[in-house]
């Protein structure tokens, strides 16, 4: 009878649905680093910056920590870390014997009192930042089960006194390396293997044409020298084809070419300009900008140029589409009724437009991180045009570059090959 009563009572329980809990950064404590202090502190600093910019973690104030600074890498007093609100704990100890750095880095789950990750990372001294990025990658991959981007590189255009040059740097803007001289060089685009960057240049004095530069050797070679204007190359995910825009007989259209083939094939054939092509992650469709309806709007088409669909209907100047690696969104810049350029996303299914930036200068040229978790873009919000990174909902904006005269045209490189 008791069983029956319990079953009857359970059947009569009211039900409350709770969904839409606010997404909260994971409270993470980074303990005082151990080992060789100068090296350990430097590694910890890079690591902290990665965690903060990721938007996934809330780093706790070290001033609040209750654990003694002498607490080692192991034998953790979890209660003391729990008392300051930590759910995760990072501990590291680095040594720098000679020209090598060796770091022992660990991640603990404070709530359950257990070690989650433990690794030894080592390399030559100049790779100090890379060691930190590797551990940050491992931590994010552990939680999200997705690849992380801390070891990726970005390309962008640096403003100089005499022109614009193509530069590559770490994802956080560190280690910038110029790849070209300072003629007018624009619109960098990575090959999927990350070895080559295509860019548009006025370097030959005969209009704008497309060139490639080998990232390792900085050797430059021509890619498309067609007509007076060929610009905006973008590689297919298979790396075998690329798209670009070219102007022939006063009509600018999108062309497709094999990377080893000499002549491109025209994909669009409408009145008005068709530019700014962007591949979908599966390489089956292409987003682009067209003026065919009277104002620049975002369209998509099949990779063979058929099945053209208009995607944006709000606003009268939408440009620079960038298809997300997850395939569900296209980021673009649009001019609103205040004539300000801001960033938006449009859903592939349903066409819902979501605004990402507002009242913060001019925001343009969105470029997705290869894991789809971040958008890199140029913004004048801090004064000079610089690169910023934010999450796809517009949250957690962080400045990436601090170029003297400014930076623009970002392109995010591929993920490093799995080891």
């Amino acid at each position: 009878m008791m069983i029956l009563l319990a079953l009857l009572l359970a059947a009569d329980r009211p039900v409350i649905d709770l969904s839409g809990g606010r997404v909260q950064a994971y409270p993470l404590a980074m303990a005082r680093p151990l080992g060789a202090q100068e090296t350990s502190v430097s590694v910890q600093s890079v690591l902290a910056q990665d965690f903060e910019r990721s938007g996934l973690f809330k780093l706790l104030d070290p001033a609040s920590f209750l654990a003694p600074p002498t607490e080692g890498l192991t034998n953790i007093n979890y209660a003391r870390w729990q008392a300051v609100g930590a759910q995760g704990l990072v501990k590291l100890s680095c040594d720098a014997p000679g020209a090598e750095i060796k770091c022992d880095m660990r991640l603990y789950d404070v709530a359950h009192g257990q070690e989650l990750l433990h690794g030894t990372y080592q390399g030559p001294s100049p790779s100090m930042r890379q060691l930190a990025h590797r551990f940050a990658d491992d931590v994010v991959r552990f939680f999200t089960h997705e690849p992380a981007i801390f070891q990726t590189r970005i390309a962008f255009v640096r403003e100089t006194e005499t022109g614009k040059q193509i530069v590559v740097s770490d994802w956080d803007g560190a280690n910038p390396q110029p790849l070209t001289g300072a003629s007018i060089n624009l619109l960098p685009a990575w090959t999927p293997d990350g070895r080559t960057i295509a860019f548009t240049s006025f370097r030959d004095g005969a209009g704008a044409h497309i060139y490639t530069v080998d990232v390792a050797s900085r050797k430059i070679g021509p890619l498309v020298l067609m007509g007076d204007l060929a610009a905006g190359a973008t590689y297919a995910p298979d790396g075998l084809r690329f798209l670009y825009s070219a102007s022939v007989e006063d009509n600018t259209d999108i062309y497709i070419s094999q990377t080893d083939g000499p002549i491109g094939r025209r994909l669009t054939d409408a009145r008005g300009i068709d530019v700014s092509a962007s591949w979908s992650a599966d390489g089956k469709r292409i987003a682009f900008v067209s003026e065919r309806a009277g104002s620049p709007q975002i369209y998509t088409m099949s990779a063979d140029g058929t099945d053209v669909r208009r995607l944006t209907f709000q606003g009268n100047f939408n440009q620079e589409p960038a298809w997300s690696p997850k395939g569900d969104l296209i980021a673009f810049s649009g001019r609103d009724e205040h004539r300000a350029f801001d960033l938006y996303t449009v859903a592939i299914d349903g066409g819902k437009v979501t605004r990402l930036t507002q009242n913060q200068g001019t925001n343009e040229k969105p470029a997705w991180a290869p894991n789809g978790r971040y958008i890199l873009f140029s913004s004048t919000r801090g004064g000079k045009r610089q690169l910023w990174v934010m999450q796809p909902d517009g949250s957690n904006p962080r400045q990436v570059t601090s170029e003297h005269l400014g930076a623009s045209d970002p392109a995010w490189g591929p993920l490093p090959p799995p080891k």
């Binding site: 009572l9 409350i16 994971y26 600093s45 104030d61 709000q314 979501t354 009242n359 904006p397 400045q399």
Partner: protein, 240 residues
């Protein structure tokens, strides 16, 4: 010799037949077990609708032209959210984020205003381009309201205030996570006990639910619900 009126004590006495008693016992047991098995099926239907009241105040503003690009409702983050990258050193501390009022706080403020007990609160310039209705409230949060049972609204809102999904769980995983918790609520509003009827399978999500329930402070339930909430409990269906 006449027949004696006495019966021998050795004679067999007619006994009450055993079969009906056994049959009755079997029938009773069968009824109990049958009820235990089949009655829950009868009751295994959607529980009575006890939706919480979701009371929204309609935002003050004017309808936005659908041809225009959308605007964000919340103020944009500070343009100086962080310093540019520097040489290795101490990471800069983040400025404190302004606490956005919860729906409950907005309701309390509105009630306090209505009762003339409002304390002075900082005035904020309304966004002139905010979408809404011409007759809406500057503190409005949405455009429609639904009816339901008030105490469950309080339970819903109180838990939601503490319900935080760890950002380290990927969006893809969030699509599939779900957990069911039964909570028993005492007469003073304390959660007497809770137990997972179904865990999500993600330890970080389940830990976040534990924290949310531990941190939740509920008002005392009304007399008509107090007994059932104490004895029967309430089912909390969590989704990210």
């Amino acid at each position: 010799m006449t027949e004696s009126g006495h019966q021998s004590v050795l004679a067999l006495t007619p006994r009450t037949p055993a079969l009906p008693g056994v049959a009755l016992a079997v029938l009773l047991h069968a009824a109990v077990f049958g009820a235990a098995i089949y009655l829950p099926m009868l009751f295994d239907r959607a529980p009575p609708l006890r939706k919480p009241i979701i009371a929204h105040m309609v935002a003050l503003g004017k309808p936005r032209d659908p041809q225009l690009l959308p605007r964000r409702q919340a103020p944009a983050p500070s343009p100086v959210a962080s310093a540019p990258p520097k040489a290795p050193g101490k990471a800069p501390a983040q400025p404190a984020q302004k606490h956005a009022p919860t729906r409950q706080e907005l309701m309390q403020r509105a009630l306090a205003h209505a009762m003339g007990k409002a304390t002075a609160e900082p005035k904020e310039e309304p966004d002139p381009e905010r979408a809404g209705s011409p007759t809406g409230s500057a503190a409005g949060t949405a455009q429609s309201a639904e009816e339901g049972e008030a105490y469950y609204t309080a339970v819903h809102d109180a838990i939601m205030e503490n319900y935080a999904v760890p950002s380290v769980i990927s969006e893809r995983e969030r699509l599939y996570l779900a957990a069911v918790v039964v909570a028993w609520i005492g007469p003073s509003g304390q959660i007497i006990k809770h137990e997972f009827e179904k865990k999500s399978g993600n330890a970080f999500f389940d830990q976040a639910l534990e924290l949310a329930i531990q941190r939740t402070k509920l008002p005392p339930p009304p007399p008509d619900l107090a007994r059932s909430l104490r004895d029967t409990g309430v089912v909390l269906n969590f989704r990210p």
